[in-house]
């Protein structure tokens, strides 16, 4: 099934950055990626400094699952967990744009861009929706669910 992230999902991902988790060896690794850009219907790009990338992939990059959720969440305002498979970019216009943006915004050089192709979206709101897989609802279904639950807020930078 083709996934298209909702506008609210995109706003939270780009507005606050994300915590990312990999586990190619069956042992989890977590980092914070302050800069995130949605570059396709379900593709999210994360530029990484070398220390971040080494923590995420201690034995070097392996094509494996990545899980990520929005950072700086005080009370689960963006109750989403995204899972996908990553590829890495070392060149190209997207790579160059994001490397530059990372350095300009954060003052730290990035060396690689992790591109996650989202294949699954889950709800992490406590209660009956916890663990509900959302992408199976389709784009319209996800938008309708957000609306029905009153999930209309986005980070202040997007208002």
């Amino acid at each position: 099934m083709t996934i298209q992230l909702t506008e609210r999902m995109k706003a939270w991902i780009e507005g606050l950055g994300c915590h990312l988790c990999t586990a190619p060896e069956g042992i989890p690794n977590v980092v914070v990626a302050p800069l995130a850009r949605v570059v396709g219907p379900a593709r999210v790009a994360f530029p990484h400094s070398s220390d971040n990338f080494k923590t995420l992939y201690p034995k070097g990059f392996q094509k494996s699952w990545v899980s990520f959720g929005v950072s700086h969440l005080g009370s689960v305002r963006a109750p989403y967990q995204f899972k996908g498979v990553a590829e890495i970019l070392y060149e190209g216009s997207l790579f160059l744009d994001l490397i530059k943006e990372h350095e300009n915004q954060l003052g730290i050089a990035a060396s690689v861009v992790l591109l996650v192709n989202v294949r699954e979206v889950y709800c992490t709101k406590p209660g009956y929706l916890a663990g509900q897989r959302l992408d199976v609802l389709g784009y319209d279904g996800m938008c309708a669910l957000e609306k029905s639950l009153g999930w209309i807020d986005v980070p202040s930078s997007f208002r």
Binding site: H19, C21, T22, A23, P24, E25, G26, I27, P28, N29, V30, V31, V32, P34, S49, D51, N52, K54, T55, S64, W65, V66, S67, F68, G69, S71, H72, L73, G74, S75, V76, R77, P79, Q81, K83, L106, I108, T124, K125, P126, G127, Y128, A130, G131, L149, G150
Partner: protein, 164 residues
Amino acid sequence: MKFSPAMKRALTVPKDGGCVVYLATTSLDGKPNMVPMRYVASFAEDKVLLADMFLLKTKANLKENPNCIVAIAYPIDADRGRWWAFRGMAVVMEYDMDPGYDWYGSKAGEVLEKWGRWEEKEPPLEVPPDIVYGVAVQRGVVVLHVTDAYSLRLGETGREVLER
């Protein structure tokens, strides 16, 4: 290994000045799962406790693979920074377990006695009404035995931060 006083302050529920954390687990074949948790506490000198409420994949993962991470999610900038990830092995201590069950020095009986009815002990008063759940159903307590901790701060990610 032991937590610093600042870490102990961070590892409490948000209404008491603590943090929302991410609990990251993984299946044995390497598919990670990461969920936000509000009920968090430190215990002894090297344990992080989390309430087993609404856990599905997390619990399935822990039953086949105890390796996990608790990472501070919010507020990560409080004090002089709470850019920490705590790594170790966890078990879910569930009701009806042998009270003498021991996980790296922590007994199930003691943990469940103190944190088995966590919502009554530390109700989610700070959580907005549109977000808080209706009924809490706690099935146990996740006990993480921390073996190492590292920084999440950009530029020094991965650097060990736990006192030895």
